[in-house]
Structures are given as C-alpha cells and as structure tokens.
Point group: C2
DNA sequence: CCTCCCTGTGAACAATTTTTCTTTAATGTA
DNA sequence: TACATTAAAGAAAAATTGTTCACAGGGAGG
C-alpha cells in the first residue's frame, strides 16, 4: 500500500549497458537470455537492467495512433474551456496509475513544445514527476526552469526542488529554485521568507516565464500533500470544512477556484496564484476521477491554455 | 529460413483497440490478462492485437541514451567521409536483424529531419522498408515523395512503389512513382520506357528533391535483389566477375563506386546514379557486415551527407 | 441443403519473464 | 580478527507471455 515509493535502491549506473540491452530487447526483439549471452552477464541482470531502463525513462514507448474517443473529448474540452490545446489519454485501469499515463502524455507534449529560449515555471505533483522522468534528455538551448514552489525538508523523491532540477537537467536548462520550505511554520515566517531578496528574485523570474506547467492536488488520501505529514490531518479537515476541494500550487481552493481563507494558505511559500495570469501559456497536467472537482475549480479561476488529462477526468469535466 | 516474409495474414483493422491496448500494456504496465478483462476480449486476442501494434509501428520504442562507442564511431565516420551527420546503432546480434535496427534509427532520424516543403527522393531496400514502417504517421505540410526506382510486377510487400506510397501516406505527402518495371527485359526497352514523358516528369521531380534517402544492396543471398528472381543467378555471377560489389539504386557498382559495364545496368529503370549529386542532402541507410564493401564503394563515388548504419559496418568502414 | 473453405477463437502447452528468497561477496566497524 | 551491514548475484518458484492446434460458426459455391 505504499503509494509513494522511495527511489529504488538498486540503480544501474551503466548507461551503456542499459541502452544496449534496450536496443536488443525492444528493437531487435531478442530474449533476455540471448542478451545475457551477448553482453556476457547473467540473465537476471539483464532483466534488472531492462527494468531500470524503463523506470528511468531510458526506453520510451510512443503510441502512434490516438484513440478516437479521446480525440473527440479533446475537441469538446477545447471548446468548453477555451483551451488552445487539449490532450486526452485513455484512463488507467488501476486508479493509481493515472499519473503514469498522463505524465507520459505530458512528457511527449513538452518534448514537442518546449523551444529554445523558453522559460518554464514549474509546479509540482506526482503526475509532473512522471512527466519529467519520461522527458527525453535532449538539450534545448537557452531554456530556464523556475520552481514555483518551495522545497520539502524531507521526502526526497517527490519534491518540487528535485523535480525542477531534474527537468532542468534533462533539457540543459538553467534552474532557479525557491530556497525556502513550501510551508512555513507560521504566517509571519512565510512573509519573512518571501520577502527575502533571493526569493523575490526567483519569483520575479517565474513571473516572466512564458510557460507554466502545473498540476492540481485533491484530498484523496494517497495524494502526496496529504500523505506526507506537512499538513496536519486536522488542518486538512478544516480546509475541507471551509470548502476547499484541493490545491493548486499548494494553495487550497474552493469549488470556484478561489483561495480558501485558512491559515495554511497564509503559510505557503509559492508563486502567487493570481500572478499565473502573467504567464502566457499555462499547461495543466492532471487527471483521474478524484481530481475532477479540483480541476474544474482550477479551470474556473485560472487561465489555462493547455490541458493534459485522461478520459475519466475529461468526461467528468464535461458532464456538468 | 524465409527471409522475406509476406505481409502477415491476420491484421487487426481496429486502430482503437490497438492504441488502447498499447497504452495499457506499455505505458500503464498492465498484464495482458488484465487488459483482456478491461476491454472485454480474450487474453489471446489482446496478445495478437499487441503483436500487430508492434509490427505496424503503432507502438514505437525510443531509446534515450546512446551507446558511448556508437557516438565515437559517429564522430570518426563524419570526419573520415566528410559527412554532415552520422548515426550509429548497436549491431544486431542476429545478422538478419540488422535492417530492423538500422531502420528503427532511420525512422527516428527522418521523423526529426523532414520539414514542411521537403521533396524526398526515395530508394529501396529492406532497411528502408523497416524505416518507413516505423515512421510516425504525422502529416508534414507540402511534402513530396518521389520514387527513384521502377516497380516490381510481383513481390508486393517489398517493392519500391509500395514503399514510396507508404512513406507518402505516413507524412501526408504527394507521391510520384515511376510507372515502369525496375528492370526492363532489354536495354532498348529501358530507353523507350525512360524516354516516356510521364517517366521523364517523375525523374525531373526527383532531380529537384532536396533529400535523397537510399540504401545499398549486397550480393549476400538473402538480399532481396538476389532473392526475388528478376536478376538471373547467372547474371549475378557475371556481375560479380565484372567486379561488382553490390548495387545502389539497382545499379551495380564496383569497389570504386563506378557503374559496372554489364547489360543489367543498361536495363535498369531508375534515377541516374550520377544525378544524385543534384540532390543537396543524401541519406544513406545501410549496415551489417555484408554491406561494408558496397557501402565503401557508394561512399567513394557518391556525395553522401548523412549515414545511418550500425557498429559493425561503421567499424568495417573505418578499418581500411 | 450440404460441403468446403475461411476466419476467428480459445484451450493447452511451451517459453519467457518476473518475483522472491538465498547465497555470496564486499566493505566498514569494533 | 571477528562481526555486522549492505550490495550484488544466483536459483527456484510463480506469473506472464507466446505458440500451436483444434474446433466452431458462417458464408460461397455446389
């Protein structure tokens, strides 16, 4: 039941082997045993290398044809929410795999749509993590990645800071991070943090981004924001009682997309929600049944240009 | 031992199912049994659909990291043969899979390097067939594909005409074909064919292409040119005796890349070899041990700008 | 109305892949 | 040196995938 796994203990650092094995297995169609002979290593090691290659996004799967129904949903979404583009992928059969599927599509989208010189303001979430993971490692000139969120003190693997860094590394971008925790202990501290010159500088850079990539979080209990302990369960209940349906950039919002009046929202160290409108292109990457409410809220009060989601969410959003 | 297979008998026309199944299997990582439950079809059918999806290039595998040694070979090739670009992939473990591997790389290259407005002059070969098969089906505006070779009367699956058509369809290009057999029965007939207005028109279009994509053939007996019967075994022997090391655009050439003086070369209905220099970018897609000699010959006497090959061939070409 | 193919399907079996658990080796620590 | 602790490799079992074969409709032609 561990929803958020730590980084796999065993990593194979040898990119050479991973690439070679992947070629033989996926492209040539050899059996793992055969590959073990060729590479002169144990059969099981081949298997482990291939697993690592998949997990790390060294091999990527691209599905050429899209599903008819998804294309129809894309059109409807564009029309309904005034999007410039929409991407809808089939829903994951296992609920918990939604981030995987949507992340995959997001990676493909970003690979095609990030251009030299772009400045990307980055949010946070499991879906985004998957997307970044699958992003091809190809440098794009003069790009910049700016994190819109502070970092977590614990919880390495799923961390705004970590994600931004990984993204930047993949595309050879400069990387700017908010050197503060995502939630300060108390509102006054937040204000102190945010007024720091270095923080203001990063926020300023984010404001000048031309692409914002973000996700929304729900209250389902496998949501990372709930799963990690940095928001107390009691606070989560209070937020829900106050009408919150989820969070965007770690700000909790109600069904109309407005920031809920609660102390937690005064402790968050992040790019200000209302300033998202300063960024020309906003890409919202989220999906799955349980995100429908938040997504609707986010779409209501945030100018989203591109929506990357799955069938379930698309249908949910369209069924008023 | 059937080297050149006919098109698989069983095709699944339902692109919807293929795409859905592929998503669940490759992206979400479900088991085939699970997918069968979801889609409400038998497990075995899922398996067959997935096979079809792979064969038809509906799912594609992309390997992100390249192999260090291959990168080094690419550099050496560029320098040695004055190429503007080189792509080297790991060699297939099973000799006969070389076209698969190289074709895969060629597809990736073409997908990234064909731009709107391009006119592509196309050669022929098993490797090219695989490349075309894996090409993503994405329209590229105002493109044109021109076949540089006549067609075969039999042998549907591996046919210059067929290949050109498939290529054109994939990228939404206009398609021009040479409406003559690749080898006329007698030289005078060839001249008659080639002087036809319609033929001249296509050749003219090819001459104005900006990209030529071609392959070379060797005398190994699984080579399509030998395998199909349109060159008699006795003629093949004569050609070899006359110093031919293989063919390029169905012209047989000697080790220096010059057209061998033999009747067969006077019967070929194809774009003239020496006119390749009129096309700014020439991409040579070939590899495998047995192609080294022809490739060297082709490189010696044809201005090749991009070479897509495998480790074996790369090493062979560099080891003088 | 009855064959004869032809196609699609599933069952049974074989091969491969994946997981789990054990063993081995390696490294650091008292 | 002995003792942990951890990482890597392997063997065996379990699960999944791939192949083969036989059978059930369902037209087309007799």
């Amino acid at each position: 039941m561990a929803v958020i796994e730590n980084e796999k203990a065993s990593r194979f650092p040898d990119a050479e082997l991973k690439a070679r094995a992947a070629w033989h297995y996926y492209v040539e169609g050899l059996t793992q045993e055969r590959i073990s002979e060729i590479l002169g290593i144990g059969r099981i090691k081949v298997h482990r290398i291939l697993s690592a290659a998949r997990e790390e996004g060294v091999v990527q799967f691209r599905i050429r044809d899209s599903v008819v129904e998804c294309v129809q949903l894309e059109e409807s979404l564009k029309q309904r929410f005034g999007l410039s583009q929409a991407v809808v992928v089939p829903s994951a059969a296992d609920r918990s795999n939604a981030p995987l599927m949507i992340g995959h599509a997001a990676a493909a989208y970003l690979a095609d749509n990030v251009n030299p010189g772009d400045v990307i303001a980055l949010g946070w979430g499991r879906t985004l993590k998957f997307a970044i993971n699958e992003l091809p490692r190809r440098p794009i000139a003069r790009t910049t990645v700016v994190s819109m969120l502070g970092g977590l003190t614990h919880a390495q693997p799923l961390n705004p800071t970590e994600s931004a860094w990984e993204f930047a590394e993949k595309i050879g971008a400069e990387c700017y991070l908010l050197p503060v925790p995502v939630y300060a202990d108390r509102p006054e501290q937040r204000d102190a943090f945010m007024s720091q010159r270095s923080v203001q500088d990063v926020v300023f850079r984010a404001r000048r981004a031309n692409i914002a990539v973000l996700s929304v979080g729900s209250f389902s209990n496998d949501s990372p924001i709930a799963h990690y302990g940095f928001i107390k369960p009691s606070e989560l209940e209070e937020l829900q009682a106050a009408g919150a349906v989820g969070d965007i950039l770690c700000h909790f919002i109600d069904a109309e997309g407005r920031t809920v009046d609660h102390e937690v929202n005064r402790r968050v160290c992040a790019y200000p929600l209302q300033d998202l409108s300063d960024i020309p292109t906003t890409i919202l990457v989220s999906g799955g049944q349980e995100k429908i409410a938040v997504m609707r809220a986010a779409l209501a009060n945030t100018k989203v240009s591109v929506l990357i989601t799955d069938e379930d969410a698309a249908k949910g959003l369209l069924n008023r």
